[in-house]
Symmetry: C2
Subunit: 347 residues, 2 copies
């Protein structure tokens, strides 16, 4: 259908990198060549793709010369270090880090919401923060019908959001506590097993942590609503995978629960999951490994006639990161936005 | 200081009962006689109190004849079954169940907030729901300075809120998952280890579960603000003990963070715990076994000039249940409200 392209995954050995590989394979992405890149520390290892073993190469100045598309998931500093090289080489970078998300020259895209923003890219497209993507994809269909005025969100974020090593640490801590020993915290700042704490990203001058400010600023950029009122409380919980969010929405006018359910049931990227008889609503174990964000417990806010309460769970490695990046890549193929004239973007 | 009284604990062998015993001892409650009561199933066991072993007796019609004060923590149906007998015997019942909380003839008391309500009791005083007590004691000092208009709260409730057996189940489930086995859910409706789910109390016609409606209705009754706007999302998380809550408060007018901190630091029943340099705020492991509700991360709500965000953790077995009940009992002693004329209350 599309002319196969040369793709590089930068940060191929990480949790999101592994998921990117799996998605390129399962979605049968039209690849001509796949290059796996990582730091020199991880270079030399081999990863499986469609039955073949591909050697992970160390990233260098020449690594992007024959590449059309870079899927970057090696963290902000790596993205910053290589972005100019990638752009100058004529490749398009879909960046999973926070490095360029708020750059006005960089579109920030959730394909179900603002695919049109891709048309203006100058070589870099940013993939939003995981918590933001999960909320945005769940509430945007409602926002289209009736504008949202204010969002109050509390998150329940799994250990895997802090990487595979944090996930492992929670398991080791759990073992220790079950044996009556003291848990050790080395990756995360405090013990997370059988405990929880406010999100450990750096605090900003507002008193909100960076994770919370991402939810505020990135949602505004994706929705193109610079003044949308949003407040967030982000919390790490001892769940291994998939994030949950309690979302309070205030609309301009009343929004019926029945209509909200109908809209969610028909919208892309989300799945309505409610069994009111069984008191069964989305749980992290349901969302793990799933593409869709699970939405349930849609309630009329009894404190506000214009309010709705939503409960969502989503796999933050999948839709919250790798899947959204691959969907952006697919969008670039569909709209023929990969082979652009050499960009003059300076980052 | 006070004339020692005859106290009975109804439900002495449960998690709250055990905590009640510990508190009567550590607070040196002026006891003449202590009677431990439980169902016939638990009768016959012995519990330690001040070095002595006390036999648990089966509750019967004559059990309250020589009792001044009953601390009841055996669940709603047991409280309902014995309340009339207790009242008719002339004893005062401090009831930890939800059975009589919303009864207009029954005061619902958090001693730091509405001790004056005790004066009108007719033989029964209700102890509020744990999640409600923890929130109420933390926000009331602010409400006194500047009335709260609306509350949006999300909870992170530990397994112990569902009893000692639920706590044990989470440990067993964790073991199973760490061994690669499937977790079994017998006490709680779904596996809680490394997972979470909306609170499993029965759903009401509003779509809110009973736990959430308790937070709404009980807070209104304790604050004596029948129209206070409150919306709540209650969630069970795989924490062993102590509940956490993300509380968004909307006031009539702006409330400075500095003033809020000062007020919390000086108020009874709460402790300000914030280290902004270390990104350290209350955690369940800090709150476990503590009397005070820990309050931190007080932030100006960036979505509302009249808003504040609060993060609290509290031991729901202690201040959320047993301690609050003992404080009510102490209040009854102080105000000489134990030896009332025979009540005509019919429940």
């Amino acid at each position: 259908m599309f002319k196969p392209v040369n793709v590089a995954i930068l940060g191929a050995t990480g949790a999101v990198g592994t998921e990117l590989l799996e998605l390129l394979e399962s979605r049968n992405f039209p690849l001509n060549n796949l290059k796996l890149l990582a730091s020199s520390r991880s270079a030399g290892t081999h990863l499986k793709f469609k039955g073949e073993s591909i050697k992970v190469e160390a990233v260098d100045e020449k690594a992007f010369d024959d590449v059309d598309l870079v899927l970057a998931s090696a963290g902000g500093s790596t993205s910053k270090a290589w972005a100019q090289t990638i752009v100058d080489s004529g490749a398009v970078m879909v960046d999973n880090s926070s490095a360029f998300r708020m750059n006005p020259d960089v579109p920030l895209i959730v394909p179900e919401i603002n695919p049109e923003a891709a048309a203006n890219h100058q070589g870099i497209i940013a993939n939003p923060n995981c918590t933001t993507i999960l909320m945005a994809v769940a509430i945007y269909p409602l926002h289209q019908v009736q504008p949202i005025e204010r969002i109050v969100v509390s998150t329940y974020q799994s250990a895997s959001g802090a990487g595979a090593r944090a996930m492992e640490e929670v398991k080791i801590q759990s073992q220790a506590i079950l044996k009556g020993e003291d848990p050790k915290a080395e990756i995360l700042p405090y013990p997370l097993a059988f405990n929880l704490f406010p999100h450990n990203s750096p605090l900003t001058e507002t008193g909100y942590c960076e994770e919370e400010m991402k939810m505020v600023n990135e949602t505004r950029k994706i929705f193109n609503t610079p003044h949308l009122k949003i407040t967030a409380t982000c919390v790490r919980v001892p769940v291994l995978r998939a994030h949950s969010e309690a979302i309070n929405l205030e609309f301009k006018a009343p929004f019926s629960v029945a209509q909200a359910r109908e809209i969610i049931a028909q919208s892309p990227g989300v799945q309505l999951l409610e069994d009111w008889q069984k008191n069964y609503f989305p749980m992290p174990i349901d969302a793990s490994g799933k593409d869709d964000v699970l939405v349930g417990r849609i309630r009329q806010d009894i404190s506000d006639p214009n309010g709705l309460e939503l409960w969502i769970c989503g796999d933050q490695i999948r839709k919250g990161a790798a899947l959204n990046a691959v969907q952006i890549a697919e969008l670039l193929m569909e709209k023929s936005l990969l082979n652009i004239a050499k960009s003059s973007l300076k980052v």
